[in-house]
C-alpha cells in the first residue's frame, strides 16, 4: 500500500515541477485534429509519412529561431516589429557579399551579424533612452529598413555558394542541420533565461520596472541586450532562409510575416505581452503549431492567400485569449 502512494506522489510532484505550459495541450489538440482531417481526406496518408513530420520541423525553423529572440524581448517588457525587414536585409546582404563564392561566406556572415547587432542596438536605444513606445519605435525602424532595402535591391541578388547550403539542406543522419540548430537556439534561449544573471534581470525588468530599478538593476542595459539578441536571431533566420532559397530577395521577411507571427507564437506559448513571465518552451510549442498548420494548409492545397487570412485571425485571437482574461485598460 505504502509503495503505491509513494510512487503516485512522486509522479505528481515531477509532473508539477515541469511546469508544462498549457499551450502543449493545445498543440496536442491541433495535432489530433490534423490527424482526424488526415484520416478523412487522405486515408491517413499524410501524417504517417515520416517525411511530413520532418517537413513540419523544417518549416518551423525559420519562424522558430526568430521567435526565441522575440520571446526574450517580450519578457523584458518590450517588443520587436522590425524583425521581418531585418530578415530580408540579411538574406539580400549575405547573398550579395557571397556572390556564390565559398571564400566569401565567412565575410558575409560577419557582415550580416554586425548589421543585426547595430539594428538591435538602435532599437534598444530608441526604446530606453528616447523613451519611445516599443511598438512605434520598432515599427519606425522597420520602415527605415524597408526603405533602405527596397531602395537598394529590387530583385533576387547575388547567390549562395553550394557550401553554405548545408544550413538549409544538409542532414546529420536523418535529422536536418537546420532542426539541430533550431534546438540549439531553443536550448540556448532556455539557458540564458533560466540560468544566467542576465535572464533573471530580464524577468525582473519586464515584471516590474520599478522593483527592478529599486534593486539596482541597470534596466536600460538589460532591455538593449534583449533587443540585440532578438536582432541576432533574426539574422540567423535570414541566413537559414537564404541558404534554402539559394539567393536573397527583399520580400522574404514581410512575405513570411515573421514580425506578427513571432509575436503570436510567443503569446500563444504563454508569455505575457506585458512581460515578466513566460519562456522559450511555450514559444516552441506555438511555433510547432504554426508549422503544423502551415504543412496542413500546404498538403490540403489551401490557397496561400487564405492561409494569410487564417494566420492574421490567429494572431488576433491568440493575443485576445490572454488579454481578455487579464482585462487591461486598453487603447
Amino acid at each position: 500500500m505504502t509503495t503505491t502512494t509513494i510512487t503516485k506522489k512522486s509522479f505528481r510532484e515531477v509532473y508539477r515541477s515541469l511546469h508544462i505550459p498549457p499551450v502543449y495541450y493545445f498543440l496536442i489538440v491541433v495535432f489530433l485534429t490534423s490527424g482526424i482531417l488526415d484520416q478523412l481526406y487522405s486515408d491517413g496518408q499524410i501524417l504517417s509519412n515520416p517525411l511530413i513530420g520532418m517537413n513540419i520541423l523544417v518549416r518551423s525553423v525559420a519562424l522558430g529561431i526568430v521567435a526565441i529572440g522575440q520571446t526574450l524581448v517580450i519578457i523584458g517588457g518590450s517588443i520587436d516589429l522590425s524583425v521581418a525587414y531585418l530578415i530580408s536585409i540579411t538574406s539580400v546582404m549575405s547573398s550579395y557579399v557571397m556572390q556564390g563564392k565559398p571564400e566569401n561566406v565567412f565575410k558575409a556572415i560577419v557582415v550580416v551579424f554586425a548589421i543585426g547587432a547595430v539594428v538591435g542596438l538602435v532599437n534598444g536605444l530608441i526604446v530606453t533612452k528616447l523613451r519611445v513606445n516599443p511598438f512605434i519605435a520598432t515599427l519606425g525602424t522597420s520602415l527605415i529598413l524597408k526603405g533602405i532595402i527596397n531602395g537598394t535591391f529590387s530583385n533576387y541578388t547575388g547567390s549562395v555558394p553550394r557550401s553554405f547550403e548545408f544550413f538549409g539542406y544538409e542532414r546529420v543522419g536523418s535529422i536536418p542541420v537546420s532542426v539541430i540548430i533550431l534546438f540549439l537556439i531553443v536550448i540556448g534561449g532556455w539557458f540564458v533565461l533560466s540560468k544566467t544573471k542576465f535572464g533573471a534581470h530580464l524577468y525582473g525588468v519586464g515584471g516590474n520596472d520599478e522593483v527592478a530599478r529599486l534593486s539596482g538593476l541597470r534596466t536600460d542595459r538589460v532591455v538593449i541586450g534583449a533587443h540585440i539578441i532578438c536582432s541576432l536571431t533574426a539574422v540567423l533566420t535570414g541566413l537559414f532562409i537564404v541558404s534554402r532559397l539559394r539567393a536573397g530577395a527583399p520580400w522574404v521577411g514581410p512575405d513570411g510575416v515573421y514580425d506578427l507571427e513571432s509575436i503570436a507564437t510567443v503569446v500563444i506559448g504563454g508569455t505575457l505581452l506585458s512581460g515578466g513571465k513566460g519562456g522559450v518552451w511555450g514559444t516552441l510549442a506555438g511555433v510547432i503549431i504554426f508549422g503544423i498548420l502551415d504543412t496542413a494548409f500546404n498538403q490540403l492545397g489551401v490557397n496561400p492567400y487564405l492561409t494569410i487570412v487564417i494566420r492574421g485571425a490567429i494572431v488576433i485571437l491568440a493575443v485576445a485569449s490572454y488579454t481578455y482574461r487579464s482585462k487591461l485598460q486598453v487603447a
Partner: protein
C-alpha cells in the same frame, strides 16, 4: 497723464510683441509647408505653375483623407494600421466588381463601404471588449484583409476601372476661373474635410473621442460611453479609408501593392500635423496640411535625387523623431 509721456517707441514694440506671440501660436506645419513649397518650386518649374499645383493637390488628396481618419483613431488613444490594406481591398475588389461596366460603379462603392464599416466595427469591438491593444488588432486585420483580397481576386487585378469610378481620383473640372483645372479629388477632400471638421470639432462625438484619448478613466467616470465612441471612431476611420481607396485607385491604376504602407504614411502625416500619438489632441486642417507637407517633402527629396523607396526611411525617421520629441518635452515639463 503719465501714459501720454510714454513714447510711441513702446507702442511699436508692443505691437511687435503682439505679432510675435501670435506667430508663435501658428502650428509649425504651415511655415514648414510654405518653406518646402518655395524650395520645390525652385527645383522644378511644374510646381510653380497652377496646373502643377493642382496636379500635386490631386495626387495627395487621398492621403489627406486617410490621415484625417487616422487622426480620429489616434485622438481616441488608439492606432489603425489596417487602412492600407483597406485601400488595397477597395482597389482590387472594385476592379473585379466593376467588370468594366459603368453601371456597377456606385453599387461597387456601396459594397466597399459596407465592408469597410464592418472592418472598422470589428477593430473597435475587439479593442473594446477583448482588450487587445489596437496596435495588434489592426496589424492582424491588415494581414487578414490583405489575404482575403488577394484570395478573392486570385492574386492579380482583373479588368479595368470604369471612367465614372476613376473620376473621383483622377478627374478634373475644366475651365474653372483662376484655377484652371480643378481636381475632383480636391473637391472630395474639401467636402470630407468640412464634414469631419464638423464631426470632430463641433459635435459631442468629437469631444468625447478626445476625452477617451486624454483620460479614459475620467471619461468613464463622467458618463462617456467609452466603448461606443471608440467603435464609432474606428468605423469612421475605415469609411474614410474606403473613400481614400477609391480616389487612390482612380488616380493610380491598379496593381497588387497599391495601398501598401499608406497606414504609416497617414500616421506620419498626423504626426507632422501635430496630433499627439497618445491621444487627446488633433486638428483637421493641420492634419491635411501635414499630409501635404509630407508629400512635398518626399517630392523635394525625389527631385534632389532620392530613390523612391527611401521615402519610407524619411517617414520612419519622422515618426520616431516626433514621438521622441513629445516624450522629451513631457519629461522636461516635470
Amino acid at each position: 497723464m503719465t501714459t501720454a509721456a510714454i513714447t510711441p517707441q513702446s507702442g511699436v514694440s508692443k505691437f511687435l510683441h503682439f505679432v510675435w506671440s501670435n506667430i508663435k501660436k501658428i502650428p509649425p506645419v504651415y511655415p514648414v509647408f510654405l518653406v518646402l513649397f518655395i524650395v520645390v518650386s525652385f527645383l522644378s518649374p511644374t510646381y510653380s505653375s497652377m496646373n502643377g499645383i493642382m496636379a500635386f493637390l490631386r495626387r495627395t488628396a487621398p492621403l489627406a483623407i486617410l490621415a484625417i481618419g487616422q487622426m480620429i483613431v489616434l485622438s481616441s488613444g488608439g492606432f489603425d494600421l489596417s487602412i492600407g490594406s483597406l485601400v488595397t481591398m477597395v482597389c482590387l475588389g472594385s476592379s473585379l466588381l466593376l467588370n468594366n461596366d459603368p453601371a456597377n460603379a456606385y453599387p461597387a462603392i456601396g459594397i466597399m463601404m459596407l465592408i469597410g464599416i464592418s472592418i472598422g466595427m470589428v477593430n473597435g469591438l475587439v479593442v473594446s471588449y477583448l482588450k487587445v491593444p489596437s496596435f495588434i488588432v489592426t496589424l492582424g486585420m491588415m494581414l487578414l484583409v490583405k489575404g482575403l483580397v488577394l484570395y478573392w481576386v486570385g492574386g492579380a487585378p482583373k479588368g479595368y476601372f470604369t471612367d465614372n469610378w476613376r473620376m473621383w481620383g483622377r478627374g478634373y473640372i475644366e475651365n474653372v476661373p483662376v484655377f484652371g483645372r480643378f481636381p475632383i479629388g480636391l473637391i472630395v477632400l474639401i467636402v470630407v474635410g468640412l464634414l469631419i471638421w464638423y464631426l470632430y470639432h463641433r459635435t459631442n462625438f468629437g469631444k468625447q473621442v478626445l476625452a477617451i484619448g486624454d483620460n479614459v478613466r475620467a471619461a468613464r467616470l463622467s458618463g462617456v460611453r467609452v466603448n461606443l465612441i471608440r467603435v464609432a471612431a474606428f468605423v469612421t476611420c475605415s469609411i474614410l479609408a474606403v473613400i481614400g481607396g477609391v480616389m487612390t485607385g482612380g488616380y493610380g491604376g491598379v496593381n497588387v501593392t497599391i495601398g501598401e504602407g499608406m497606414e504609416m504614411q497617414a500616421i506620419a502625416a498626423c504626426v507632422v500635423g501635430g496630433v499627439l500619438l497618445g491621444g487627446g489632441k488633433g486638428n483637421v486642417l493641420n492634419v491635411i496640411f501635414g499630409a501635404y507637407t509630407l508629400e512635398i517633402l518626399i517630392s523635394m527629396l525625389t527631385l534632389l535625387g532620392l530613390p523612391k523607396p527611401y521615402k519610407d526611411v524619411v517617414q520612419g525617421l519622422i515618426i520616431i523623431g516626433a514621438v521622441a520629441y513629445v516624450a522629451y518635452m513631457a519629461r522636461k515639463k516635470r
